[in-house]
């Protein structure tokens, strides 16, 4: 089993940290994982994306050309990444911030009010956690509990309030499916 995931949005949406949490959780479940961020000049443009591969086999390339799963957090990323998704792939997108809709009919599209839910919990910037919660519940690639553990172990400087809030956001995301 190999799942190739691309997460994309703009800087400040926690794109990179979501990717790392996902990769870290994969490691905690003893899977082979890679995380690969876009880097360099591309970082300056305001967009951010990263690739995560979670597999039972050794990971060949950490660069994902044809993802199984997309998590799209803003409008420009939708147009850019939609064509890359594998037929039959799963397309999660942040409906709060994205007005258009994916055009393809050979994929599963899941619109999530990530920012709205996050705001409801009291913090817009945990929209990424809502998405991750939805992702693991829908796809079963990892356990929700592992994600909770992962975020607690990675965000070493976060307050306990913040960690609890992250947990809640993960749960709310997972409750969508």
């Amino acid at each position: 089993m190999t799942k190739e995931i691309i997460i994309a949005g703009f800087g400040g949406q926690g794109i990179v940290s979501s990717g790392i949490i996902l990769g870290y959780a994969g490691m905690l479940e003893n899977k082979n994982v890679t995380f690969f961020p876009s880097y360099g000049a591309e970082m300056r443009g305001g967009t951010a994306n990263c690739s995560v591969v979670i597999s039972s086999e050794p990971v060949a390339s950490p660069i994902v050309a044809y993802p199984d799963i997309l998590i799209i957090m803003n409008e420009p990323s939708l147009a850019r990444f939609e064509p890359m998704l594998k037929p039959g792939g799963i397309f999660f997108y942040n409906k709060t911030l994205i007005k258009s809709h994916p055009k393809r009919d050979d994929i599963t599209v899941l619109a999530i009010e990530a920012n709205a839910i996050a705001e409801e919990l009291g913090q817009g910037r945990i929209a990424n956690m809502v998405m991750l919660g939805a992702l693991v519940k829908k796809t079963d690639i990892l356990k929700l509990e592992t994600l909770k553990k992962a975020q607690r172990e990675r965000f070493v400087k976060a307050s306990s309030e913040q960690l609890s809030l992250n947990d809640k956001a993960l749960e709310r995301g997972s409750e969508l499916y």
Binding site: I20, V33, F35, Y39, G40, A60, S61
Partner: protein, 355 residues
């Protein structure tokens, strides 16, 4: 099992260098290896080592020359254009028979190129790189785990042979995160013996001189011949390669570093389709693992060299196999990374109909 951490390749190098007992780093920022000096500045501070951000790569390599001549494990990292600037220093260090470790996180070239991953510094790394007759021991890791483990190996080989050692990574290996197992106990630098050449003040012994020149007639020639013998010995004893599924293979892919990772997926796809494909991954690029290639050349019909350049290693494969076989090449220069699909297609073209 030892502690496992999800780490950037560039951070794994730093931990590997520190675990190898190195406490001296000098370097200059350049993408895509900036995480090395950044993280190193924090870690060296924690372990009481030396971290210097230099005015140039030229200064960095020469600070290494000083630190290593003083008998300490010393390393620098850079990326392609910066490594070019270091070549003068590397030549002097090789000429003075001093061990240092240089990490090249290769980017696209020539010139300023781009910051995407590449393998286009293969010739530079395996042919010496600077002026004069010399070689540098060159290791090609392909995972964050090996980025952690190879610094220790590189220092050990460098010191054993009193020769500079290189680790060739690329932007992809440096920038990605993977689990890293801290697989060995860190070396305590205070337990490392003082080398015979170390400049430390001549108290209680004859004075020592570290230099790469000799103007006395015939002396430099003699010195070069001695070094030649050393290189011959290294070429005989230190070849390293990893073979997978080569025993029954009709076609063997030869690839290192990132290309080898991608190729392994292509080889898997080919096997699933019934093609007998193996993979030989050189771990030492110099010395080139020619014995393994020579052996395979007697039973394999096709070789496919996959590199992120215009085919620099093809020469070494041809030499090692004495051109007995059909040697194909698939490359992506200028920052391109091959995909398993395109490599598979190449395999299909070569073996098409033969399976």
């Amino acid at each position: 099992m030892a502690e496992k951490r999800l780490m950037y390749g560039n951070h794994a190098i730093v931990e590997g260098v520190l675990a190898a007992g190195c406490r001296f780093f000098a370097g200059y920022p350049i993408t895509p290896q900036n995480e090395i000096p950044e993280y190193m500045s924090i870690r060296m501070n924690e372990v009481g080592g030396v971290f210097i951000q230099t005015e140039s790569e030229i200064a960095a390599i020469n600070m290494l020359f000083g630190a290593a001549a003083a008998g300490k494990r010393a390393m620098t990292s850079s990326s392609s254009p910066g490594i070019s600037l270091m070549q003068e220093g590397i030549s002097y260090i090789a000429g003075a028979d001093i061990p240092v470790l240089v990490v090249n996180v290769i980017r696209g070239g020539p010139g300023l190129g781009n910051i995407a991953p590449a393998q286009s510094d293969y010739y530079q790394a395996t042919r010496g790189g600077g002026h004069g007759d010399y070689f540098t021991i060159t290791l090609a890791p392909n995972s964050a785990q090996e980025l952690f483990e190879f610094p220790k190996l590189a220092f050990e080989l460098a010191e054993k042979y009193r020769n500079p050692a290189l680790i060739l990574a690329d932007g992809l290996l440096g920038q990605m995160m993977e689990p890293v197992e801290f697989s060995y106990d860190p070396v305590d630098p205070t337990t490392l013996p003082e080398p015979s050449y170390a400049l430390s003040g001549c108290q209680g012994r004859d004075r020592r001189v570290v230099r790469s020149y000799d103007l006395k007639p015939g002396k430099l020639e003699e010195w070069n011949w001695r070094r030649h013998a050393k290189y011959q010995h290294i070429m005989e004893k230190e070849q390293r390669a990893q073979a997978a599924d080569c025993d029954d293979a009709e076609l063997v892919i030869v690839a290192y570093g990132t290309s080898a990772r991608v190729s392994s997926a292509a080889a898997r796809m080919a096997r699933e389709k019934g093609y007998k494909v193996g993979l030989l991954r050189p771990i030492t690029l110099w010395p080139f693992p020619k014995n393994a290639l020579a052996e395979l050349s007697n039973k394999v019909e096709y070789f496919l060299v996959v590199e992120m350049n215009l085919g620099q290693m093809v020469e070494d494969v041809k030499l090692a196999t004495e051109c007995k076989n059909k040697i194909h090449f698939h490359g992506r220069p200028g920052g391109g990374v091959p995909t398993p699909h395109e490599i598979y297609e190449k395999i299909e073209t070569i073996l098409g109909g033969s399976s």
